[in-house]
Symmetry: C2
Subunit: 221 residues, 2 copies
DNA sequence: TCAAAAGTGTTCCTGTTACACCCATGA
DNA sequence: TCATGGGTGTAACAGGAACACTTTTGA
């Protein structure tokens, strides 16, 4: 193995498609670039790996640097993106990631290196730099396909939540409405959540509260 | 993005878990290393990317160099393997791949850089170099999970094949026996294969022959 | 008493599993 | 005629999708 041990001119980066749900809509985090050749373009947060970084730790570091996010919630590797032309300034292979985070835990904060950071509706993305359109699409597909077989929704729900809240999160992520009875049946049958007491939540009939049995990745492949 | 544009000390490699079916058993291709620190160890074929390689083209080139394989059949990206310690000689991020190839199309040929190449039963692997044990396990899991929803089996079946042959291939890959009637129902329901004429195949009742409608990747996610 | 959200079962369809016998051929 | 592998159908079950009304509360 390792055929060209000499000087390979390839750099390794990590990008991350960070999703959350705000106002019942799936949102994705984008930063706005200052640097050429993508000045003014929006992009997924990302950056080169440090020599001691794993791709995962690089993503966590970069999220703090580029958006002020401090905790790394559910975060998974997506795929390597390696077409030679994907970065016009040089050969960079990117390891794409995707994550689901709570909307409330942090205030987005931009840095001098970028001109903006903000959430965008996942179904209305602006033109993106690099191959990030494809990365975002792949990330969304994976997020949706893992939603039904894991407890990743915990990262976007409060510690105690109602089934209606959970359903609304699922609907936002999947981009379609769900049948209430079927959702409850399936969600409870998954066995990832357990009931607590009750809630008054104001205006109407109180709803039962649930919590996730585990607040770490479970059930994901 | 691209935070350390200076000198990053990471190299990029591609590895491949190449599967075939011989004698009704799933086999995986391994090469035997000469180089330290894995002298004498078996490993997945792999190597560094050239500056103009995609990971995929690197795998194809490497397979020809290291094993004399000339055609790139079904070949898919698996994941990036990026733990800093995975290569004791330096930081190398590997893009893992997996493939399924016909057993007959080539004669394995070793090269001066390696001391041996051969097929190993996928369920009886020797100790492997690097993190190749984990790569092989992940590749096998993906191969199995994609088998049922794509036509990847074409690459290991002759152009005209009987349902019994197909079933035997599926059994070898999945590592368990299948019910004959259920297999036929499901395989035909997938709609990827179409009947031809008949076959005498010698000793017994002739079996109907089938061919794949398409001999390129279809149905895979 | 009304508006608003919570809560609850059944039917249908589809796909998966388990299972046993007759058929066509060459030797 | 027999040994060998080819070929076929049905019943039970599980999971997913469609669908409407009653209950509880605060205003």
């Amino acid at each position: 193995m390792r055929r060209h041990p000499s000087k390979q001119q390839i750099k390794v980066a990590a990008d991350a498609a960070i999703f959350t749900v705000i106002g019942g809509r799936l949102q994705i985090l984008l930063i706005r670039m200052k640097k050429r050749p993508f000045t003014g373009r929006w992009a997924l947060p990302g950056g080169l790996l440090g020599d001691r970084d794993t791709a995962r730790s690089a993503v966590c570091r970069i999220l703090e640097e580029q958006a002020g996010m401090t905790s790394c919630y559910f975060l998974e590797q997506l795929a390597a993106f390696d077409t030679p032309a994907r970065d016009p300034l040089g050969r960079v292979v990117s390891i794409g990631h995707f994550a689901l985070v709570p909307p409330t835990d942090f205030r987005l904060r931009t840095t001098p290196k970028y001109s903006d950071v903000r959430w965008w509706r996942a179904d209305r993305l602006p033109p993106l730099a690099y191959d990030h359109k494809a990365q975002a699409a792949a990330a969304l597909a994976r997020l949706r396909s893992e939603l039904g077989r894991s407890n990743i929704a915990w990262s976007v729900l409060p510690r105690a939540f109602t089934l209606a809240q959970a359903q609304s999160v699922y609907e936002a992520i999947l981009g379609r409405t769900l049948d209430k009875r079927n959702f409850r049946k399936k969600f409870l049958a998954l066995g990832l959540a357990a009931p607590l007491g009750r809630k008054s939540s104001g205006a109407h009939r109180p709803a039962a509260l649930y919590r996730f049995r585990s607040r770490r990745a479970a059930g994901s492949l």
